[in-house]
């Protein structure tokens, strides 16, 4: 099924990038979780200070909502803020934005190196002139790519779980595992896209333009979409039309809100990510076996 010497060669030429990506993801987890851990502890308001204010408002027949409206702030923000904690922020903003960054970079660069860059530079000639079947080459590269992502998230998730165990007021371990699984499935789906473009094009510039272009589009759309998200709407700083960006980014299939609120939508989205991956890997693999390779 796979060629061991080719697998060795692919590992040799990509392990450095894997290591850097894995370490950086883990480091981001550590920095983020520790800093969130320190601020996530809710501060208890001092009743001695607060009560006189409320009393004064009530004596005058006024409410806190009225006070906010008078200053020009939507009073709904109060309910929004009351339900917020650091962990919601981590779940909704950290994983799908900061968490995806390194895997995105890794899949774009390594995906291109699997085929297109080797054809573009000509080094693929040394593989094709051996008796390794083209389909075997495609499966070997696929095996490496998916395994390397799984391994990356095994490391990252382990770091994340350890952090959860040592930091007070953290997300429960099962949620952390689900969030990391979601990141992994998204990364594999992104990888399947870069794999497919790399297998289709004979030039790095095209493979990178499509793979990297999509990755960038997904990433920027996710950030822009944040302004139209429920989170920003409840915080009173949302811009509803910008929700459209959430519909064009594949990162939305990594549905952290659903994972955190115990609904089951995320399972359906996971399945979609797996289906996208299968379609793209198969298309790329077959394409590679049926095209002219000018090396």
């Amino acid at each position: 099924m796979i060629s061991i010497p080719l697998l060795k060669q692919t590992i040799k030429s990509n392990w450095g990038l894997w290591l850097v990506s894995t370490l950086t993801v883990s480091l981001l987890y550590i920095v983020m979780k520790i800093s969130m851990g320190t601020i996530a502890v809710p501060s208890d308001p001092d009743p001695n200070v607060l009560v006189p204010y409320i009393m004064a408002l009530q004596d005058a027949g006024l409410s806190i909502d009225g006070l906010f409206s008078a200053i020009g702030i939507n009073p709904d923000i109060l309910t929004g803020l009351a339900t917020m904690d650091g962990n919601t922020l981590v779940g909704i903003m950290f994983y799908p934005i900061v968490g995806v960054l390194l895997p995105l970079l890794y899949t774009v660069i390594v995906g291109n190196k699997l085929f297109a860059s080797q054809i573009d530079r000509g080094s693929m000639a040394f593989i094709l002139s051996t008796s390794i079947k083209r389909s075997k080459i495609a499966i070997t590269q696929l095996t490496f790519f998916v395994s390397s992502l799984i391994l990356m998230f095994l490391v990252a998730a382990s770091v994340d779980v350890i952090l959860a165990l040592i930091i007070d007021n953290s997300l429960p371990v099962d949620k952390i595992i689900l969030l990391n699984l979601g990141l992994l499935l998204f990364s594999i789906a992104m990888g399947s896209l870069t794999y497919m473009f790399s297998a289709i094009f004979n030039y790095s510039k095209y493979s990178l333009a499509f793979g990297g272009g999509l990755a960038l589009t997904f990433f920027i759309s996710k950030i822009l979409g944040l302004f139209g998200s429920d989170l920003f709407m409840t915080m009173g700083i949302g811009i509803e039309p910008m929700n459209i960006f959430n519909k064009i980014t594949m990162i939305s299939l990594f549905n952290t809100t659903s994972i955190l609120d115990d609904s089951t939508t995320y399972i359906l989205y996971f399945v979609i990510l797996v289906i996208v991956s299968i379609i793209c890997f198969v298309t790329g693999g077959i394409w590679f076996t049926k095209k002219d390779i000018p090396v």
Partner: protein, 300 residues
């Protein structure tokens, strides 16, 4: 027996680039040369032979199997040196040669080590920092180390210094003596003359001639250049009945074509003149090729 058969091979890239209706046969144990100007289609032909690309029309057969994308089993018999050499980013030359040996299923590295020593290759140099010549040597080691029955070489001596070229010619002859069949494209006429049995001339994607090197080596027609000491001798010699190719009155020089059976007559005649020097103008593949090319350009 024909080891490589190319029939009506056509790969059209538009704007008259590509190869058109190529026909040739390489016999067992033969060294077949492939010469042509830049962009004449040498590499396209070779890529078709390797099954990297598919012809629009026609076919390539190697060992009686039609080559296509899925004829990797033929690669067991083929050693290949690519025209454009680039290595994967996996460290030094030694690491690459080892992994390449694993890929072709080669366990005994004796011959590979012999090649490395012979070419004086420093295998501990990083692949990325190798000079053109070192890359070429590394690729030659990889192509030759499995002692394949067939060698397909795309300009294998580019980047090699003259000394290395000599060693490379020795390697080709060693392979031929072992019984290997060799197909080689080249720009270097000298090494083709030393090694090839036949040479095909490619121009604008068409084979314009296939020369048997015997006709070049054993050409009975020789060309001589003679310079006389005086104008008188020069003028008198012009009246002799020899096949005059060119003359240069200023230097009292003439160039004549003499068939081998005329040579004694020619010498006798010359003995009556005061000759400053006589020189044979070697008939080379390069001259033959240039002549053919000029004819071809006139026809274009």
């Amino acid at each position: 027996m024909a080891i490589i058969e190319i029939q009506n091979l056509t790969k059209d890239y538009g704007l008259s680039r590509g190869v058109f209706d190529i026909n040739l046969e390489v016999k067992e144990g033969e060294i077949f040369g492939f010469v042509g100007t830049n962009g004449s289609g040498k590499t396209t032909t070779i890529r078709n032979m390797m099954g990297f690309i598919k012809p629009d029309y026609g076919s390539v057969k190697i060992l009686n199997h039609e080559v296509n994308y899925n004829t990797e089993y033929l690669m067991k018999h083929i050693g290949y040196v690519p025209g454009e050499i680039s290595f994967p980013d996996i460290g030094d030359g030694n690491a690459f040669i080892k992994i390449q040996a694993e890929m072709i299923g080669l366990k005994n590295m004796d011959y590979a080590n012999y090649l490395i020593k012979k070419l004086g290759l420093d295998t501990f140099a990083n692949l990325k920092r190798m000079s053109k010549g070192m890359k070429q040597k590394t690729a030659i080691v990889c192509g030759f180390m499995g002692k394949p029955d067939i060698l397909i070489l795309d300009e294998p001596s580019t980047g090699l210094d003259p000394l290395m070229r000599e060693l490379f010619v020795e390697l080709l002859i060693e392979a031929k003596q072992r019984g290997a069949t060799i197909f080689m494209s080249s720009h270097v006429f000298e090494e083709m003359e030393k090694t090839c049995d036949r040479v095909a001339l490619l121009h604008n994607g068409n084979i314009i001639d296939i020369v048997d090197m015997k006709t070049i080596h054993h050409n009975e027609l020789k060309t001589y250049k003679i310079e006389f000491t005086s104008n008188k001798d020069y003028q008198n010699f012009l009246k002799e009945k020899f096949n005059l190719i060119s003359k240069k009155e200023k230097n009292y020089q003439v160039t004549v074509d003499i068939m081998d059976d005329q040579i004694n007559n020619f010498m006798r005649t010359l003995s009556m003149y005061k000759v400053k020097y006589i020189k044979e103008e070697k008939y080379t593949l390069e001259k033959y090729f240039l002549k053919k090319m000029t004819e071809e350009k006139k026809n274009d």
